[in-house]
Amino acid sequence: MSGLLPGLVLWPLACASLLVIWPKATKMLALFAVLGTAMISILVFNLPHGRWALGGWAAPLGIGWRLDDLSQLMILLTGVVGLLISLYAWFDDSLPRPFWLLWLGAWAAMNALYLAADVFNIYVTLELLGLSAVALVAISLKVGALQAAMRYLLVSLLGSMLFLLGVALLYGQFGVLDMLLLANAMTSNFSMMFALVVMSVGLMAKTAVFPLHSWLPLAHGRAPAAVSAILSALVIKASFYLLIRLWLEVFAPIPTEVLVQSLWVLGSLALLWGAWQALASANLKPMVAWSTVAQVGYLVIGLGLVAHPNTPDGWLWGLLWLMLAHALAKSAMFLAAGNLQQAAGHDRLVELGEVSRRQPKTLFAFGLAGVSLAGLPVSAGFLAKWWLLELGLWHQAWWLVLVLVLGSLLTVGYVFRVLNIALNTEFKSNVEPEALILIHPVREWVSLGLALLGLVAGLHASWLWGA
């Protein structure tokens, strides 16, 4: 069964290469690629854990792979959400053809990143992922998109460079690159703390952690809907996954109380600032993008809470749950926003009433996703926010608990702003109903499906922590 693993990377790459040779068959090949990759991702969830050396070369030289709970979950998450976003993209005729090539490249890079067992391979996959993501942002070739992509490219490269610097420091200290060997050898000293900080700053720039977030609203806001969903739901999760690996595994003895609390502070600022900007946003897609900035704040706070030296084992599952809840809700929300935008031809919030009443399923999906993001029941987000509150109280960090609740209320604020506009029958937009473009019904169903998945998942979290 472990022979499946290379398929996670090679199958999408192989299909992507065929795409280049035979562009006329793009959609057909994309279908094969997506179905195959998603199927393998799901099958891999049940594989036994283990380590493999690709091509028979042993650890110090060759490419080492390993599979554990964390990587399995990330692969599954990427597989399921990726499958649904692909379905949406398949029915979106406005996407240019290279989308599939780049998306398959990004998917392969993410899978390789989750499987990689050593920090240098991670650097390589991180670069591949960054480049495909930047190209995805630029895909519409509009001026605004190109500007956003350029900024994203610079931030992404800077982040990778900082990560590589950390890799060099690690190699200089221990002479190995394998994450497990590094974790075993790790001792607490100044240069290691420096390495952790440098690598974290690099990864945080890629994850758009406050105050390194300013590229994200542009990049995610100006890209096509499917791309925004991929970036917000999946791509930033990859760099965040690495933060988890570093803080909780490789550098486990390093995080001190001060370091951890700085994460809480950064996360809180992101939460409040992002939600505030979302509330102030006059357009739908930038609003959803700013909401990502805020939600990343929750992730960072969660990481800080788990990494706290006093936190006992067994709390990690909630952080994973938070990632899962966010991925489902945010992809649903971006796809819903895309439906509204394409049907109306614009995304000015106050004029979206007419179009959203004509797409009740999309509106419903938006609302459900918002409920999950705000952490209201019944949703995956509710359990995640409960987990955060509980751990916050456990540390007696009262201010943090207040920030968490406040953040939820602000989230409700911007979600219901959209719903208010949709249900307000007195406001007449100047767009004639006949001018609205028809959206393929599958796209409405996909956004609703993702939102519902976030709701159903909220009923049963035990498979995650029971594992």
């Binding site: 409920v371 209201l376 608990v401 609740v405 219901f416 307000n424 049963h460 035990s462």
Partner: protein, 498 residues
């Protein structure tokens, strides 16, 4: 026979599945939607009646599963739950019929009835929640499901009212959630237990108090305790069936019901009394009763007056509980059901005046008794019940509350009750007087012919007549075991003796 653990799920499903179906029924397919709606309500009522008999013969219905480490989603049906379930299932059937008549030919009915039915599920969940955590889930779900109903009309005014509603209930929900998490951190999340579970834990006093304040503030928003009440009169812009629902069964009752659960089955009423919490609640409730009644006196709009009357009347529940004696508890619990029956009658009949004759203001009611005798008859019965006249059920609640206050020596509460009854009479009697004894005006504000045979559409008239009848009949047969009084006495015996 069906496994007992499946019953709670069936109760939930009997409205959840219709709700989901209704969302996808085409807008103009009225017949199918009504059939699903009424069918679901009938099935639910039947299930609940079977449950009443089961509970009475000592069956246990519960199911729970772990959602998180140390945190279980738990549904359990006990005597208290089944009372609330029966009330909601019964009134739901009637309100559904009423709503179908009321919303005939108006837009967005699929959305309306979908959320309307979703509310029943949430209310059933509130009733059946086996621990505080599960309660919070359904409590918030109720907020989310009622919001689209409040803003249903889509006017600027409705949207503004919805915004206020959300602001209050979600901040309240946040407080409730915080209190629950805090309690979970110190005491875990055990199931609700008769007599409470906090007495044996000897938690530090600041925890007990901060949890109490958070929980009561959170629950008080929905129960419209002063100073958390002002969303309720604003929510009046909603269609009449929604007001009936908000005021009689779902939202305010969920808050009151939560207060009952917290005082009886988390803190334990004796412990809460010994710690001084019951007294705080008592003062809060007494304040709300007087304040709501006084404000009601000054309203010129019928629905507004009814709304402030709700603010006042719902607090009888909290008052009865906070008296911390068996008789007061009987009075408070009785009022959960009784206020529901009376208030829903009042709102439906008020809605009928508005729909049939365009009457919204109190001074437009002159002589309406001759034009709509049946409707006015139902209205009068319910209003007299609210004042506390026998043999209407309102008398029973007030009687037991009065004895309860006497029993624990809280004489000032008796004065509050007396004052409140005077005020009730002061704001209800003029309406009755106008309706029956003043001459009919030459024309009504906005008359519509809704039926050839009756004074109004039969679907609008039948439900309030049935509830008005219940208001009288339950008062007359109060001595029997399976009435509200018998049931509540049985509940309180378990609580105070068991």
């Amino acid at each position: 026979m069906i496994d007992n653990s499946l019953w709670p799920l069936m109760i939930l499903a009997s409205s959840l599945i219709p709700a989901l179906l209704i969302f996808f029924i085409a807008e103009d397919n009225k017949f199918l939607r009504s059939a699903v709606n009424i069918g679901g309500a009938l099935i639910k009522l039947m299930l609940v009646v079977l449950l009443v008999l089961g509970i009475y013969s000592g069956e246990v219905y519960q199911i729970s599963w772990q959602l998180m480490p140390g945190l279980a989603f738990s549904l359990r049906i006990d005597g208290l739950a089944v009372m609330f379930l029966l009330l909601s299932a019964f009134l739901w059937l009637l309100t559904t019929i009423y709503a179908i008549g009321y919303l005939e030919n108006s837009p967005n009915r699929a959305r309306f009835f979908g959320f309307f039915t979703l509310c029943v599920s949430a209310t059933a969940g509130v009733a059946m929640a086996g621990n505080l955590f599960t309660f919070v889930i359904f409590y918030e779900l109720l907020t989310l499901a009622t919001w689209p109903l409040v803003v249903h009309r889509g006017t600027e005014k409705a949207i503004a009212a919805g915004r206020v509603y959300l602001r209050y209930t979600l901040i309240g929900g946040g407080a409730l959630l915080l209190g629950t998490v805090l309690l979970h951190a110190f005491a875990g999340s055990p199931d609700f237990m008769p007599g409470g579970y906090l007495a044996d834990l000897s938690l530090p006093s600041w925890v007990l108090w901060s949890v109490f304040i958070l929980l009561i503030a959170g629950l008080g928003v929905k129960a419209a305790l002063v100073p958390f009440h002002s969303w309720l009169p604003q929510a009046m812009v909603a269609p009449a069936p929604v007001s009936a629902l908000l005021h009689a069964v779902a939202v305010v009752k969920a808050g009151a019901f939560g207060i009952v659960r917290v005082m009886f089955e988390v803190y334990g009423i004796e412990y809460a009394d010994a710690q001084g919490m019951a007294y705080v609640l008592l003062i809060l409730a007494a304040l709300t009763i007087v304040y709501g009644s006084v404000r009601a006196l000054y309203q010129t709009d019928i629905k507004k007056r009814l709304a402030f009357s709700t603010v006042s009347q719902v607090s009888y529940v909290a008052l009865g509980i906070a008296l911390a004696g068996p008789m007061g508890a009987i009075g408070g619990l009785l009022h959960i059901a009784h206020q529901g029956l009376m208030k829903i009658t009042l709102f439906m009949t008020a809605g009928n005046y508005a729909e049939t004759l365009g009457i919204h203001k109190i001074d437009e009611l002159n002589g309406v008794g001759r034009r709509m005798p049946w409707n006015s008859f139902a209205f009068t019965l319910a209003a007299l019940g609210m004042i506390g006249l026998p043999p209407m059920v309102g008398f029973l609640s007030k009687w037991y509350l009065g004895i309860g206050a006497w029993e624990v020596g809280a004489y000032w509460v008796m004065a509050v009750l007396f004052l409140s009854s005077l005020l009730n009479a002061g704001y209800f009697l003029p309406l009755i007087y106008r309706a029956w004894f003043l001459p009919t005006p030459t024309h009504w504000p906005n008359e519509r012919r809704l039926s050839r045979h009756c004074e109004t559409h039969w679907m609008l008239l039948l439900p309030p007549l049935v509830t008005a009848l219940t208001v009288v009949v339950l008062g007359l047969v109060a001595g029997f075991a399976l009435t509200t009084l018998g049931w509540v006495q049985w509940l309180v015996e378990q609580e105070f003796v068991g």
